[in-house]
Amino acid sequence: MTDEATKESMQTGETMIRLENLSKVFPAQDEPAVDDLSMDIYEGEIVVLVGPSGCGKTTTMKMINRLIEPSSGRIFLQGEDVTKVNSDKLRRRIGYVIQQIGLFPHMTIADNIATVPKMLGWDKERTSQRIDELLETVGMDRSYRDRYPKELSGGQRQRIGVARAMAADPPVLLMDEPFGAIDPITRDRLQDEFLRLQQEIRKTIVFVTHDIDEAIKMGDRIAILKQQSKIAQYDTPEKILTDPADDFVADFIGGGASIKRLSLSSVEDIEPADWPVARLTDGYEHVQEKMRSSEKGYVLLLDVRDRPSRWVGAEDIEHEEVSLEEAGRPAVAIVEANASLYNTLDTMITSYKGSAIVVDGEGRYQGVVDFDTVLEAINAMRPEEQTRDRAKRDVQTGNGGL
């Protein structure tokens, strides 16, 4: 998901892809796989197509680059009707990444990446530069140019797959469960890196997945598809989570929808609590002073670089038995400012006093959040619900509508 400012500019951006009444009927089947689908995809956003197996999400995506030809309907790319143009040429303008990646095993990494540029007639110099650029963008060393796919791990291959898709700098990327075949740890990391990458490159991306959590994490807008690719809801993740359109969507999100919402907000959205803080170098008297003047009963000690070091309670500093560096217990429940509320809660649950220390990119102390502050923030997130409940109550008690 992208930050608020960019989201706003996206809404008013150009329509990059328009699907108009797309349908696909396969010869052997009675029911259409995709039935009269229309949707707009704006420039620079990540739209995730998600739905149960067999709902036609992959078929829909493959109609955009016409790997599957629509039975009826039209496709517009950057305003141009591409329903009938030469499909090979069309695909060279669209990046395509699939789950099994499909790197060409008999070509080096460099040759793999150079495939579309070569077809478009780029000269060697330009292509070579582009390869280096892309390798750097996906976080791989230039030495990988001359290696072969069989020498790479799954995660590395997937990165090259993405690099290859972006080689000719297409405005649109189609991705079909691109992280599906990777182990969960690497997948998490790749998703994060990809989102960071998207901040830079701002491509229009159509992303297919069956995993609602991935959809929530990756999508600027999510299209939840029913059988035959009928749109159940096409909206931002927040709106889908807070306001599911019908039972189907609610079921699809599954239990824990509210908790999932917490992964959409980050801890820097919360006002941290007022917590007594002192330095390791301050000496016992200062710390004891702080302790007395606050109600919290615990003081957080920072090191010389302002990084959280230790928690000390009243008992720990009463008798001045040991140096401050060894008093109390080490501070371990630490989260970065951009961590999601979900992860923050997770950290807090296992922490000593149900609190998490927020630090910035360099590890410097920003504030402390505890269960109280998080609860306050969650409550504040529910204004729509409260408005709805209030409206319902008003209707029931006969108060005039708002």
């Binding site: 499909s87 090979d88 040429k89 395509y96 790197l103 095993p105 008999h106 069989k150």
Partner: protein
């Protein structure tokens, strides 16, 4: 044994001459087989029924005894090179066709799909992706055909064709004389030696032309 070695040293030129003739006729037939076999394989590998028909027909060629095939070509093509080459081409076709089809079909569908998704036309896919990936299997088929043709080409002598078969039949004709066995042995060993040379050649050629990325 010693008489055989003596025979060889005396008749080296002759044996080598025949060997070259043998090698040439096999090479020509192989070349034609590769052209026909690979082209046919490319045409039919996606269509199951067409492939089955092609494979059934070429396998029938192999079932027909070579002598009969050589024989029946005499009234049609005459003697010498023509019936020999036609018969050899028919015999060598199946292994190459079969391996071309198998090799092309064994290309991972994900690779073919990603190639298509990137905008490669069918021809580009064939030449840049599918054939290079199927190549090791195709070369294996060529090696099998080579061995087959080496042995069968010996029969060409009956129809006046070139090759070491001539010595085998000469030996047959001179049964009882001292040179009979030498001639036959010379013929057999000459063919085996040629076979080894050709096989090594294709082995090396295969390694050189197979991308490092897919070599085991």
């Amino acid at each position: 044994m010693s008489s055989f070695l003596e025979y060889m040293s005396l008749n080296w030129d002759h044996v080598v001459e025949l060997a070259i003739g043998h090698a040439i006729v096999v090479a020509i037939s192989l070349a034609i087989d590769v052209v026909i076999g690979v082209s046919l394989g490319v045409l039919v590998f996606r269509r199951e029924r067409a492939a089955n028909v092609a494979l059934a027909i070429t396998s029938t060629f192999l079932t027909i005894p070579s002598f009969a095939l050589f024989g029946i070509f005499i009234p049609i093509f005459g003697l010498g090179y023509p019936p020999t080459v036609v018969a050899l081409v028919m015999y060598g076709l199946l292994p190459i066709l079969r391996n071309t089809v198998a090799g092309l079909r064994s290309v991972d569908p994900a690779i073919a799909e990603s190639a298509q998704g990137m905008g490669m036309s069918a021809t580009q896919r064939l030449f840049r992706i599918e054939l290079p990936l199927a190549w090791p299997v195709i070369i294996a088929g060529v090696r099998v055909s080579t061995m087959l043709l080496m042995g069968i080409a010996a029969i060409a002598a009956i129809v006046g064709g070139p090759g070491l078969g001539e010595d085998i039949f000469s030996g047959l004709a001179r049964v009882g004389s001292v040179t009979a066995l030498d001639l036959v042995l010379g013929g057999i060993l000459g063919i085996v030696a040629l076979a080894l040379i050709f096989d090594t050649f294709f082995n090396v050629l295969g390694r050189l032309t197979t991308s490092r990325g897919i070599r085991d």
